[in-house]
Amino acid sequence: MASPDSVSSGHPEVGGDPAAAGSAQPLRVALIGNPNTGKSTLFNALAGMRVRTGNYPGVTVEQKVGRTVWLGRSIELIDLPGTYSLAPRSPDEMVTVNVLTGCSGEVPPDVVICICNALALERNLFLATQVQEIGLPTILCLNMWDEVERAGVSIDVAGLSQELGLPVVTTSAHHRRGLDSLQSAVLNEVSRDSDMNRVRERETRSQALLPSAVWNEVESLSGWLAEHSAAEDVLAPFLVLRSLLDPEGSVEQLLMRRTSPEYQAQLQASRARLSRQGLKVPAVEAESRYAAASGIVSRVVRQSGKHPSRVTDRLDAVLTHRVFGFLICISVMLLIFSTINWFSQPLSGFIEDTIGAVADVVSGTMSPGPLRGLLTDGVIAGVGSVLVFLPQIALLFLFIALLEDCGYMARAAFMMDRLMATAGLSGRSFLPLMSSFACAVPGIMATRVIEDRRDRFVTILIAPLMSCSARLPVYVLMTGTFVPDRMIAGFLPLQALVLLLMTFLGMFVSVPVAFILRKTFFRGEPSTFLMELPDYRWPSISVVLHRVFASSWSFVRQAGTLIFATSVLIWAAGSIPSASDENYKLMIEIEQLEAAESPDEARIAELSDRLNVRNAEQLEQSLLGRAGHWVEPVVRPLGWDWRIGVGVVASFPAREVVVATFGTIFSLGTSVDENDEGLRGALRAARHPDGSPVFTVPVAISVMVFFAFCAQCVSTLVVIRRETNSWIWPIFSFVYMTGLAWLGAFVTYQVGSLL
């Protein structure tokens, strides 16, 4: 099996009768490897199309399982997160150990494929030898074999297999080469697994690497554990080893929970004994493994000719140059940002128009009534509210996939790191936060590029503070209506200045918010920026497209349904109790007049005005309107009356909805936009019962400040739920942002009224 790159373009589902294969218990094959070794590419090539993604319970780690058939055997292929080692220190990292050892109650896989970057063999053997110690049938897959050939490196595959005692297969995943031999190696390994000699041989092999003193300690610890745990709880030596080698790691904690807290004292005694022999934990592990790896590599790898990383060096000299590199990085980021803004708007506009057209068609076939309202304004509009996000998500992930795949993403993070460190974050947070200026939904999804869990959560929580495009209509309406159109200091337009200030307000406030989150809910070791910068390579179209498709689809399926449901619910809250028959009669009459050969414009206008007035009354009496009245005492200190309250409550699905809601409340209908002079006039003319104006400059600014901070965007909250895999964080976001918004609006109004 240790043949050089076996040429085959074989599809994984070659041969075999799927029906017969389906009946047997599928063979479970797990895929593990360092980041950037081509693991996802190999998974996609091996798994075919039937891939299920989800989350492991309780953690943010994505679970990817593919079902397929190899040579007649049905296979369940499990993708594990990319990792440099099996030393878990968090529930997220523990997932891998749980799956491989079956200590979460699952059955461990039948075979493990450990995928390596053949050009970084020394480093990759670190993980491979750890995996070997689990004791499962393991296959070493040397990926990027094409690059090995191109680099003029020769690797003695048979020798490597001999040294490790593992089958070794070479692949070029992105060319789908070597997949056949990998598949037969897996099946071969299974058929031979009943051979006791092999099992024993595997065991002695894998124990040869670490000093025998370590294994002696494992043995005595196992003895102690056996005495102190329930009879049926037999612990794999691998887990005991991990608990010994990773002080304060997740396995240590797991074993303490399973047996007793005294286990820690046992571990400390073991570590002290090792230390007296000059074997310091945890250093002993890395030293032994790297010593062994260097030895193996020096025996099996021969290098001639120059190395591909020279290309990376030359590119890095420019792309991460202190001045040019930075300028290039800024330009790339701005280019991405403006491209998303330019292209997604017409695309979203197109989707909105299409949805509108569908709604019109449906309207045309039905007469006005509650059912038509539900279908057009509830259901169809709800679908629209999900689909409008797709262009932005697809575009952003197109760029992310391109940048990640060619190796630039890590460099951009490297250059932006210092900047983000001022907020206690790392360079990886830059792109997600920048995208949030267009829209927080793709921005929050983009936090998947952040490996550190705490960094990722803090970024998710502050992302909605970045001023998204949905806030602009609110700002434009308020500024255009109430901020005087004059110059400051002779040349600075006041309105533009206010708009600019509002746009960056959230960003400024996000810095202390991030700081506080870091000191409270996400305390612990400071965020790190210890990471590998992968070699530059050409992005692979199929990897990129796959990523774009997968993220768009996961949004529609996992977030879309909830966003849709909420949109329908909010529509219902604004429509129940339902409008009186009088409203529908008016609508029917208007539609009949409009359909006439020569429409009586004056009559239509008169009826429309009456309808708008009635709709305003209907909204006031609806659940939503009552909620507006109900919140009035709370919003009074902000200088608002119930009408602004309704606007804010109604904008829960999305901030820009407030404009249309004001249109309804002020009897202008829903088809107004932020530049509508009628709406602006109505807002200026709005009066409290005592005759004083509803909107003053301080009120208008307090409304803007509120919208700068508030979480009135159901889609954002749903995506936070999806990305954090918990309801706690969307609720937390809503509460803290609404609190911040109220406080900001309160201070603005009170201070503004004093001036």
Partner: protein
């Protein structure tokens, strides 16, 4: 001396990795074990983090992380380290 004291263009041999937390474990997993050669390649635009090469791989670290690593400086530039062959051998 500390790794962070090496200037871009310089190289060193790791003599020890201190601390027992996540950072030092991670450093060792990535190959920063005593005897490994580290080349300092370049600093980020704002001076931190710094790009290093160890065992043929490019690694970026903040000054705070590099502080865990002590090295002894190698004379001259030793960036001809090979990627695949054991780079704990002194590069020529």
């Amino acid at each position: 001396m500390q790794l962070a004291e090496l200037k871009p263009g310089m190289s060193g041999v790791v003599t020890s990795v201190s601390g027992s937390g996540r950072i030092s474990s991670r450093l060792m997993e990535l190959g920063m074990v005593p005897g490994a050669i580290v080349d300092v390649l370049r600093k980020a635009p704002f001076g931190d983090p710094v790009q290093y090469r160890v065992r043929g791989a490019l690694i970026s670290m903040r000054a705070a992380e590099a502080a865990c690593v002590t090295v002894s400086a190698l004379a001259g530039v030793a960036s001809a380290t090979s990627l695949v062959a054991g780079s704990s051998l002194v590069a020529g």
